[in-house]
């Protein structure tokens, strides 16, 4: 197969052709180009398509991060790369609300998402539906709250140790 790097518009067109209107228009800023998956029911299917299709072949998820947007919504950002095949890269986002922080897991599609999703759960409290082992990864198991949320306040004591300076 000849390598053929695609632009974000071409990739978005491929996804639309296959699934219909489940993603937003590609957003282009000087620092990033991405599209958002608006219909979360199709998230796993779209990701699996991006990994398996001969034209995209995103075989590598090189980063997955959580974001607190500060307006009552949380995001997950997926960074994909077609490593050794086409060489192109892609940024995909998915949003959920603070009240119902649920997003389908991609740990079955890219194994590396396992720990990344645990980290996003640990810091932002995003629940990844279908994750094989969703527990805290960095904070202690009995930690209260999600420390990277904008409205997080430190506890007064942790196991009898004073927390604030």
């Amino acid at each position: 197969m000849q390598p053929k790097p695609l632009t974000i518009d071409e990739i978005a067109a491929l996804v639309r052709e296959k699934f219909g209107d489940v993603i937003s228009e590609p957003v282009k800023t000087p620092t990033a180009e991405f599209f958002t998956i608006t219909d979360l029911e199709y998230l796993q299917a779209v990701m699996y398509f991006l990994r398996e299709d001969e034209r995209t072949k995103f075989n590598y998820l090189y980063c997955l991060s959580g974001v607190d947007n500060g307006d009552g919504s949380l995001s997950v950002v997926y960074h994909l790369e077609s490593l050794g095949v086409h060489g192109h890269r892609l940024e995909v986002k998915a949003n959920c609300s603070v009240e119902k922080p649920e997003i389908p897991s991609v740990a079955e599609i890219w194994r590396t998402a396992d720990w990344h999703e645990r980290e996003a759960y640990d810091f932002f409290g995003i629940k990844f539906i279908g994750h094989p082992d969703l527990r805290r990864i960095l904070c202690p198991e009995d930690w209260e709250g999600y420390p990277l949320r904008k409205d997080y306040k430190v506890a007064e004591y942790y196991h009898g140790i004073k927390v604030p300076f």
Partner: protein, 208 residues
């Protein structure tokens, strides 16, 4: 009290107190626990290595708290680690000493305000004898801190209280400015040497 080995006089006979002998042997073989928490640990390892060579003071790391009498808390203590640090401290045999190395272990360092996960000073968990400031401290500073612990051991008495020893040591200490600004014993010679050089230059110029 000076070092025991300066007390040798004629015939290689030495008369001393048992207390001093025990203190001298203890301070000549302080064995720190071999564990590091963050970037300070790299500096601690450098101090153990050949350039700074802590072993010349009889200090070398042990891998078990049962065999060690000094704990060097080298780095950022997180709440998750704090319980382990406390457990390790409790496993050490007495008498035991704790050296807090670097700003993080002293007071939380750069995480003092927004670090939700950092203990704001390891002394909230275990008692600390010596604090070494720096981020991270240079090996010389760590050696200085270890020598402070040696001073502490040297001053100890049977059945004495460590807090009293610290008070006695504090009374002996001099202000830093006096130590730094005091004229170095070699300084006078050095300035003389420079004068000599200049005169020599003049002489050679004349002869030429």
């Amino acid at each position: 009290m000076s070092l025991l080995d300066t007390k040798f006089e004629k015939g290689g006979v030495i008369i001393s107190k048992v207390e001093d002998l025990l203190n001298w042997s203890r301070l000549s073989s302080m064995w720190p626990m071999s564990f590091g928490l963050a970037c300070c640990a790299i500096e601690m390892m450098a101090t153990n290595a050949s350039n700074y060579d802590l072993e010349r003071f009889g200090i070398f790391p042990r891998s078990s708290p049962r065999q060690s009498d000094v704990m060097i808390v080298a780095g950022t203590v997180t709440f998750k680690m704090a319980e382990r640090v406390k457990r390790l401290y409790e496993q050490m045999t007495e008498p035991r000493y704790v050296l807090s190395m670097g700003s993080c272990a002293n007071c939380g360092g750069p995480y003092w305000e927004h670090g939700y996960h950092v203990v704001k000073g390891v002394d909230r968990v275990i008692p600390v004898d010596v604090y070494v400031p720096g981020c991270p401290p240079r090996p010389e500073a760590l050696i200085g801190g270890l020598m402070k612990i040696q001073e502490l051991i040297r001053e100890e008495k049977f059945g004495g209280n460590r807090e009293d020893v610290k008070k006695r040591l504090a009374a002996k200490s001099a202000p830093a400015e006096e130590v730094i600004m005091a004229e170095h014993p070699n300084q006078a010679d050095r300035s003389k040497g420079q004068d000599k050089k200049e005169t020599e230059v003049e002489e050679t110029a004349e002869t030429a």
